[in-house]
């Protein structure tokens, strides 16, 4: 009998152990969010907390290197060492009106962009914004689909608010794009100019540009191709990316106008020191109005406005941003016709001419045909390296027309200017340059003398 009792206690112990283990397993699954597909309302877009970079001109000296893996923010310290002003959102707290400004900015963002679970562009009670958003395919249903797909495919690099600082981002080079500045590298639209210079010149992407990146990825970076997703998902991702970009840019300007110390703003504040917040909000409004009408009367706009000034300015700016995106197609760059026939090999003279242009226009940055390129800062405060053009890896696509866009419109956010082709026949010049770039990585495609010069004497 005693042994029976011992046995049954043992069995009871095992039983308890098993139950505890089972419950632990279930608990872990619940913690991991097993089976949860809805994004809860408690998930919100965080308000920007990292420093804003606003480069009016390129820093005087090059960065000392790439930041070490895991420490991408180091490049901002290097920028600060070069007396480039960085605008820290935390500086708002030092100003008496700062917390109010921040709260107002946040409430505008929440009202017009919702949350990851319920994303939208433009509050429902503002028909003008809703119409523009619909034109850009930014309907709530489309964005919700995009948001779910974004969480699966993009979040771990691009982050919740598109800040390019997801969990894996710090170990990538080049860094994932921060969408929140409204700047794009590989697009096909020409820049438009503003008369006064407070706002940088920005070109907006066509939807086709975003779709191309999603379909093909960016070779040579960590951005893979998503071509095997359903077409509807790719479309939804393009819409959601626009949503994040527009939200981020509104936030960017909202914070920048609160912190920026340009001469005109400082003068206005000096005249009216107790009304600094209003002065800054008015500057934001003038920036928003300037795009469509450089002579627009800010005073009149302010006089008409009954509600809070910052909210009115941000909403006006949002409308402007949406309008800019909606007109991107009209700004599409139409490549000059290639003067050389497509069905024949490119003549060697074209390649040789291209080399001549390259040696004047490009070689300063793409030293040694890109083999010895010097590093530089980009508009996000990161470090980039002008491409090594002797390797046939093209981030923005390998079609001749892709290279045409890179050459003819430049890549302004990382300081690559467009080719300056003033005298002579521009069509010939720009296509000569493209032909040279396309032949450059392949020694056998280059004329004999050029091959020697670039790839050394030995014939491959």
């Amino acid at each position: 009998m005693p042994s029976m009792i011992r046995n049954s206690t043992k069995a009871a112990d095992s039983l308890r152990g098993c139950l505890v283990a089972g419950l632990l397993c279930l608990g872990c699954m619940a913690l991991a969010g097993c089976g949860v597909t809805e994004i809860p309302d408690s998930v919100v877009y965080p308000l920007r907390s990292n420093a804003l970079v606003f480069l009016e001109k390129a820093p005087a000296t090059a960065p000392p290197g790439f930041p070490p893996p895991g420490k991408p923010e180091m490049s901002l310290d290097w920028l600060a060492e070069q007396q480039v002003p960085l605008f820290k959102p935390s500086d708002l707290d030092a100003k008496p009106w700062g917390p109010v400004w921040r709260e107002e900015l946040n409430s505008v963002l929440v009202r017009h962009f919702g949350s990851p679970g319920k994303p939208r562009v433009g509050a429902a009670d503002q028909p003008a914004l809703a119409t523009l958003a619909a034109e850009l395919f930014l309907s709530p249903a489309e964005l919700e689909r995009g948001s779910h797909q974004y969480r699966r495919s993009c979040l771990h690099c691009h982050g919740v608010a598109g800040e390019g600082a997801g969990a894996t981002s710090a170990w990538l080079n080049p860094l994932p794009r921060d969408f929140r500045q409204g700047e794009y590298k590989f697009i096909s639209t020409a820049e438009h100019k503003l008369k006064s210079g407070f706002q940088p010149l920005k070109a907006r992407p066509r939807r086709a540009d975003l779709l191309r990146t999603l379909h093909h990825g960016l070779e040579g970076t960590s951005m893979p191709s998503f071509a095997l997703l359903a077409e509807e998902d790719i479309q939804a991702l393009a819409s959601y990316t626009l949503h994040l970009a527009i939200r981020g840019e509104l936030e960017y300007w909202g914070l920048l106008y609160a912190l920026k110390e340009d001469a005109e703003t400082l003068r206005a504040i000096e005249k009216n020191p107790e009304k600094e917040a209003q002065v800054r909000a008015q500057r934001l409004i003038s920036g928003a109005l300037e795009w469509e009408d450089p002579e627009a009367d800010v005073e009149e706009f302010v006089a008409r406005e009954k509600g809070p000034l910052l909210t009115a300015g941000l909403e006006r700016l949002l409308e402007r941003l949406l309008r800019e995106y909606a007109t991107a197609d009209k700004n599409a760059m139409v490549p000059l016709a290639n003067p050389y026939p497509a069905d024949q090999p490119v003549p060697q003279t074209s390649i040789a001419n291209g080399l001549k242009i390259f040696q004047v226009q490009c070689v300063n940055c793409h030293a040694g045909y890109g083999r010895q390129s010097a590093l530089r800062f980009d508009n996000w405060g990161g470090v980039v390296r002008p491409a090594n053009l002797t390797i046939p890896v093209y981030k923005g696509g390998r079609r001749p027309v892709d290279l045409y866009y890179r050459v003819a419109r430049g890549i302004p956010p990382c300081g690559m200017p467009k080719a300056n082709l003033q005298d002579g026949d521009p069509a010939h010049q720009v296509w000569d340059l493209v032909h040279f770039l396309m032949a450059l990585p392949y020694p056998e495609s280059l004329p004999e003398t050029i091959r020697r010069q670039i790839h050394g004497g030995a014939k491959q």
Partner: protein, 349 residues
Amino acid sequence: MITEGTSTKVSGLPGTVEIAGAPPYLFEWSESAHWLPLAITGLALIAWIVSLRFKRAWAALFGFTLALMALWTLQSARSGLWLPESASLIADEVDGLFHLVMALTSIFYLLTQGVLIWTLLQPAPPGGRAARVHGNHLLELVWFTVPTGLLVYIALVQLPTWAKMKGQVPGAYLAAGYQPASDPADLLLTVTGRQWEWRMRYHSPDQPMPVNPLFWAATPAAEDIHAVNELHAWQGAKVRMMLRTTDVIHSFFLPQFRFKQDMLPGKTIPALLHTDRSNIEADGTERVWEIACAELCGGNHYRMRGKVVIHRDKKEFMDWLNRQKASQSERKESAAALPTPKPEARENQ
């Protein structure tokens, strides 16, 4: 649960193959399928806990496991979760090897489990003490020689299949490194794995086939044709693939071709695929054959997929290749991209 064999409707001109939307993949777990293994495991656990109240609990556990595995295997085979359709000339050989190994391991598994259960069911010896057994030369000799003989047999019997997969003279690698088998390949391409996609570079058929594919793989040519996540060939083609990776270890897995090969950083690994079947039906619809990564390569490893399209004949393949080439050499934006293509108007807009 299994969607292999379902088709994606193809739009476009007759004879051309344009796949609309994403193909369904080999295994699409439905909600119920997701919970099935968990439910079975849970039931087994509960059964075992209950059985702990009785004698012979451990025998019961092993018995349950054995029965469940047998059920699971049979059910998988019955419901089509067994090997996928085969599409390469070596597939039958590989399946034969798989079944051989499966049979051998099954015999020994059943044998050892049977002995284990039998032992556990034995009544306790008088006095309740176990006997201590020392050394049995005959038994030790048997369990040494039999598995060794079997392993050597498996190692030898797979050699010709392995050489065919690599497209090289059997045994040549040991003697002189990579030597392509003498019969020429019809198509040459590099497959470069990277986190998380497959980039293909096809040798242009207008150019003479390079003598040394390893050298070609290291030196891109202007005429090469590039594609992402899509492996195209035609029925009956001998496809020489040079496998590379730009970052970590990936494994290039083509289930229908019974082909799996690791890609190692710094190495170019040759392989040969002799396609046997097309996945395009007479009406132009495409059965889904996927490329998968079979080596954990990072966070999105599970999404590192691609698709295989084996065209019905070389002409159809060349049509695709020429379209690819044309889109790669666009000098102006194609009509489709101007103006911006918009998603179709949906109900909710």
